[in-house]
């Protein structure tokens, strides 16, 4: 994961204000982009697929984003968004996430390219918890590996503690805004910390080993919304 961070950082810094001189033409283009500032409500479908500790994960979620586009860029950003999403895990009590992020949109031809970074916080769905078991020829359990998203936060006033996660996220998307409609499709990097625990029952007693791993779980998403 440490190898990945420079790429994410580079992508963000590349467009940060002051890093590169802004020529007049670009400024003019951005002004055009942001003429259609305002509030957008977008509905999203998201598909996560990745792996950690040799366990594979697939998770789908649906959500809504409220995006506020500024009239013109401020401090290098084009706007901000707040989001809610629910993992499709057939459990009404878990898999709820809130998010916030800042974004910058670049006009290029008929569409815009959007780079966003922010966070998600919520109670895990269980979709990122996996256990792999290894059995002997007669069905005796020999060992197993448990891979799980580490709970690094808690929901205030709710027990037990350690029941929530906080994740940094970074999006790259293609956006088309025309009149009151917004259409968006992109990819997301979810920066997640996993616990990878091994339990070996083959010997006398059992042996336990544990490690943590920071992993990027990629997502793809599509969104459709309208200006409010």
């Amino acid at each position: 994961m440490k190898k990945c961070l420079p790429f994410i950082t580079a992508g963000i810094l590349f467009f940060a204000p002051g890093v590169h001189a802004q020529d007049a033409q670009k400024k003019q283009t951005e002004d055009i982009v942001n003429k259609s500032g305002g509030l957008y409500l977008e509905f999203r479908l998201i598909h996560d697929e990745g792996s950690a500790g040799k366990a594979a994960f697939v998770a789908n979620s649906a959500g809504v984003e409220m995006m506020n586009y500024f009239d013109r860029n401020r401090l290098g950003i084009s706007g901000y968004a707040v989001a809610y999403k629910k993992y499709l895990n057939h459990d009404g009590a878990t898999g709820h996430f809130l998010g916030g992020k800042a974004f910058r949109e670049f006009k290029t031809g008929p569409v815009g390219l959007k780079l966003a970074t922010g966070f998600e916080w919520g109670n895990p769905s269980g979709k990122f918890d996996k256990t792999g078991y290894s059995y002997g020829p007669e069905g005796k359990l020999l060992s197993y590996r448990h891979v799980f998203e580490k709970r690094n936060s808690g929901i205030p006033g709710v027990k037990p503690s350690h029941d929530a996660v906080w994740r940094p996220v970074a999006d790259f998307s293609v956006v088309k805004r025309r009149k009151a409609v917004i259409i968006e499709a992109g990819i997301r990097a979810n920066i997640m910390r996993f616990g990878v625990d091994d339990y070996d029952l083959a010997g006398n007693g059992f042996a336990f080993s544990s490690r943590d791993r920071l992993t990027v779980v990629p997502s793809v998403f599509i969104g459709l919304g309208f200006k409010i």
């Binding site: 994961m1 190898k3 990945c4 790429f7 994410i8 580079a10 992508g11 590349f14 467009f15 670009k26 283009t29 990745g50 792996s51 950690a52 366990a55 594979a56 459990d91 009590a93 290029t108 390219l113 895990p124 269980g126 918890d129 996996k130 256990t131 792999g132 078991y133 290894s134 059995y135 002997g136 020829p137 069905g139 359990l141 197993y144 448990h146 580490k150 709970r151 027990k159 037990p160 503690s161 350690h162 029941d163 970074a170 790259f172 990819i187 990097a189 616990g195 625990d197 339990y199 029952l201 007693g205 059992f206 336990f208 544990s210 791993r213 920071l214 992993t215 990027v216 779980v217 990629p218």
Partner: protein, 312 residues
């Protein structure tokens, strides 16, 4: 927009997405016995363990059912109890004796009422002596919730003091015996909160080599709540789900198909004990059972039982 910059972003995004990906491997979630025709293996993610109530009148029905289940490798162990009076009188329990004689691995519950005795060490000596082949003993069950309010009840603080005394005694005198902590109840997050209290009251200071975490989980928020505790404060401990099941016989198969994988994936349960072979401990049959009418066979068999025994 400079096209070069677009390529840089795309390049960074692709590399980012690719980072951290490992080659996938399959994660089996059922015992690895070779499935035969009409076998439950490969059809449902069953765990070959179940609760068997110690009702002597049900023995003939139990004998029929357990032999059938064993013939299909659908039972390898049973969670059993014995009454306070049986322990105090040193009288063996006929059900437990018969199950042990069949070669089943017993998880013996030390009854909640036995934990009110002052001489806990002697109580443990008696229980262990009455089950010479057993190596796992569960100290209590749903200790703060199952006892009738009309009688004596206890708190989790008092329980943990008793558990610690038993742990110290067994660790010295019976090095081959493993204890299972009382199973927390499956009621929203009550049990998860109680498990977290147990951690703070000293559970974490007991050796993971000697203690397995017990929990009863029928579904719902209990799974997520218990996962929060075991994945943060009890990572080095093994977990046995000592009760899970469905009150509706027609939903038993669905419960195994849908809930058992979640119990394994989220709670890393080594074993899941079905509740129960016969759920007649309240005086009459109810829907949790795999069988009914063990007092007067022929047995009624649930759809799950029929799958486990190769009849459907």
């Amino acid at each position: 927009m400079n096209i070069r910059r677009i390529f840089v972003v795309l390049f960074a995004a692709v590399l980012t997405a690719a980072c951290g990906r490992d080659s996938n491997f399959s994660i089996p979630t059922a015992p690895g016995a070779i499935p035969g025709e009409n076998s439950w293996q490969g059809r449902i993610p069953w765990s070959p363990y179940m609760v068997i109530h110690n009702d002597a009148g049900a023995l003939s029905g139990y004998q029929t059912a357990v032999r059938e289940l064993m013939a299909h490798d659908a039972i390898r162990g049973a969670r059993v109890g014995m009454s306070e009076s049986e322990v105090m009188n040193n009288s063996p329990n006929i059900i437990n004796q018969w199950l042990a004689a069949q070669g089943l691995e017993l998880l013996v519950i030390v009854d909640n009422y036995l934990l009110f005795h002052d001489n806990l060490e002697e109580i443990m000596d008696r229980v262990i002596a009455l089950h010479p082949g057993a190596t796992t003993f569960q100290i209590g069950n749903e200790i703060t919730t199952i006892l009738p309010k009309t009688g004596r009840t206890t708190t989790i603080e008092e329980y943990m003091k008793a558990f610690r005394r038993i742990y110290d005694h067994v660790s010295v005198k019976y090095p081959n015996i493993t204890l299972v902590s009382q199973s927390t109840i499956s009621a929203e997050t009550y049990g998860s909160q109680e498990l977290e209290k147990m951690v703070g009251l000293g559970l974490i200071r007991m050796s993971p080599q000697r203690v397995i975490i017990g929990m009863n989980v029928y579904g719902g928020p209990t799974v997520a709540g218990n996962a929060s505790v075991i994945n943060s404060q009890l990572r080095s401990y093994r977990v046995w789900v000592t009760e899970s099941g469905s009150l509706d016989p027609d939903r038993q198969v669905g419960h195994v198909a849908n809930s058992y994988p979640a119990l394994r994936n989220q709670l890393r349960a080594e074993r899941i004990y079905w509740y129960a072979l016969w759920a007649g401990d309240t005086g009459q049959d109810n829907g949790f059972g795999l069988i009914k009418n063990p007092y007067n066979p022929p047995l009624w068999e649930s759809p799950l039982y029929q799958i486990l025994t190769g009849k459907r």
